[in-house]
């Protein structure tokens, strides 16, 4: 898979604190990659270094926009920082045209496309209003458009969903998927992993500035040996034997229902056979735990703490 962004041994310290500690990863062209971890893990510092806003202490960052790796060209990248805002005392359309202009987009073209975006967002009647007239939710939409109006091949979204209401969250997800469908590569960071794992093709999990896990989301989940099993059976039957199965931990239990975690060496097929032979099953689901749990478990297995900012 061809990479559009390659990061190698990237490091940054603030005083004694290692904010980013020699991380390396690549972002495949045309995919959505999630840079995930708790608050304070180093996501924003890493993204700012990629965007050329902070100078790295060490490491290399390369971009491949046209067949070979080259240093940063800010005009080819869209960026939505975590701390974001626009000129409040300036008209909505003028905000968009200026920011696209800084990225090299001609004013006429930017104004036309800004108009199209505002129509789509139901904000077209606000185009000539000052930004401060808009509600917070509307402003968030405008900020989002500002980051992609110049049609960059690569977009960095830092915590794109923080502070959004559920309607805007869904709307942003829809546009992010659309961007990918149009060939745009996206690197997004988030601390609410459950919110973004459905979006990501691949992930890079980070804690205390260091890599925890990385790779294709599907492969990470499949290689994770634990499963969550939700079992419904005839309430008249006795399910107490479940406790005796090696590698099985019961999370929730009531007559006719058991939610369990299983990582027994016998394997999930053996477990399902045993359950089927001893109980009258009405429903059963087996799924991998959510990404957040995989993250916490992996960190704990390494004897580290999950940083809570």
């Amino acid at each position: 898979m061809e990479l559009i962004l390659k990061v190698k041994d990237l490091a940054k310290s603030f005083g004694a604190k290692k904010a980013v500690d020699r991380i390396s990863f690549g972002v495949p062209r045309g995919e959505i990659m999630g840079l995930l971890g708790p608050n304070g893990a180093g996501k924003t510092t890493a993204i700012r270094m990629i965007m050329g806003i902070l100078p790295p202490d060490a490491g290399e960052i390369g971009f491949n926009f046209n067949g070979h790796f080259q240093p940063l060209d800010k005009s080819k990248i869209g960026y939505l920082p975590e701390e974001r805002g626009l000129y409040e005392d300036v008209k909505v359309a003028d905000n968009l045209v200026y920011l696209a202009g800084l990225k090299g987009k001609p004013a006429g073209e930017a104004r036309r496309e800004a108009q199209q975006w505002l129509e789509r967002l139901d904000l077209v009647s606000y185009a000539d209003q000052k930004l401060e007239k808009l509600s917070k939710g509307m402003q968030q939409k405008v900020q989002f458009v500002a980051s992609i109006l110049h049609r960059p091949p690569l977009v960095l979204f830092d915590e794109p969903f923080s502070g959004l209401d559920p309607v805007n969250q869904d709307f942003f997800k829809e546009i992010i998927r659309e961007l990918r469908a149009g060939g745009t590569t996206i690197l997004l960071s988030a601390h609410q992993m459950n919110l973004v794992e459905e979006l990501c093709d691949s992930i890079f999990l980070i804690n205390h500035g260091r890599e925890v896990l990385s790779g294709k989301l599907q492969e990470i989940k499949e290689s994770y040996k634990e499963n969550i099993v939700e079992l419904r059976y005839d309430p008249a039957e006795d399910g107490s034997f479940l406790k005796m199965i090696p590698g099985l931990r019961i999370l929730q239990e009531q007559p006719g229902l058991a939610v369990m975690r299983y990582h027994g060496s016998a394997g999930i097929n053996a477990l399902l056979q045993e359950l089927g032979s001893r109980l009258t099953i009405s429903a059963i689901t087996v799924e991998k735990p959510p990404l957040h749990e995989i993250f916490v478990e992996t960190v704990r297995e390494r004897g580290e703490e999950v940083e809570v900012a």
């Binding site: 965007m51 806003i53 800010k74 920082p81 805002g85 000129y87 900020q143």
Partner: protein, 401 residues
Amino acid sequence: MKWLNVGKVFRWEFLKNLKSPVFLVTTLMIPLIMLLSVGISYFATSSAAREEQQVAVIDETGDFFPYLESYLAGSMVKITLHDSAEREKLAGQVEERKLDGYLLFTAENVQSGIIDYYDRDAKGMNTIAIEGAIEAALTRYRMEKMGLTEEEISLATAPVILRVRSVSGEEASIASTIAPIFFSMILVIAVMISGQVLMYGVLKEKRNRIVEILLSSVTATDLLLGKIFAFGLLGLLQIGIWLAVGLTAAGRFIDLAELGMTLEVLLPSALFFVGGYIMFAAIFAAMGATMKDAEGGSQTQGLVVLIPMIPMFASGAIMMAPNAAWVRILSYIPIFTPMTMLMRIPATTLPWWEMASAFAVLLLGIAFFVYLGARIFSRGLLQFDRTVSFKEMGKMLRRNY
């Protein structure tokens, strides 16, 4: 650094701030205030000069009154002669505002030259016209008593005029000294106003959180330079408007050629203004970048921006002695160079080498403060949640923070 980006930021900042209320208000209000204050004092003095003063005179010498009368002829002071017995009555008339005051001349007074003038309010009196007339009348009266001839008297009383010239022979007039000083004060005010607007503009961008979005397109240095140039042009535009208004208004009262606004004063003043502006703007912008809000912890930053103003507090002394050793030293301390030179240039005739060397010092200062300012600017901008302390600023300058 990309000049194309500097140009885009420049254009945006210039147009945005040109339309801002602060610019419009300061541009229009300052000349209005200047015109009002000039107008008020002009009309106050001219109307005071037009008002008649009624003064009674008790002349016990018997022959002094005609002298005084002849010297006050045609002035706004009208005098009437009275007898000593009327003194009580005159005092009453002064109280009742029928008279402005009365004068008492005795033989003793006339000899000593100490004359008593009685008024309702001894503090608020305008006695300049009366005093001048009494002095001249008394001098003539004494001389005639001494028996001097008319010829001798006119010789003795011929007026003295102190004519100030430079050694090269130029004649200096009060107008040609005061006007350029006024002019340099306007420059100083413009620097401070546009500098402050720049500082709070940076602070606002930081508070709006737009700054990180800007930095994803342009470098901090591009942003800083674009802003500095935009505010420099705004400052010049503002001065242009003020001067146009001021000179048009002044032209109604005085001959502009007498104001000494020669190219030798204007050209170096403009150079020091623009250079000083760029240096201060870099400092102002850097301070704005380290502030969290306009209150509280920002007061120390507010004090920093006062440092370049220090020569202004000594403006009187500098203009009185523009070539004193301490003033020369001040001219070579970069942060004080522009203000000091702006005040010295109109106040004296400086040799070219002194202007050139001071300007060279200023250029070094610009390079130094723009470099320093850009470093603090780029690193302070992302410190959203607090005001950056001076200790941290030191760190920012030293390390790859």
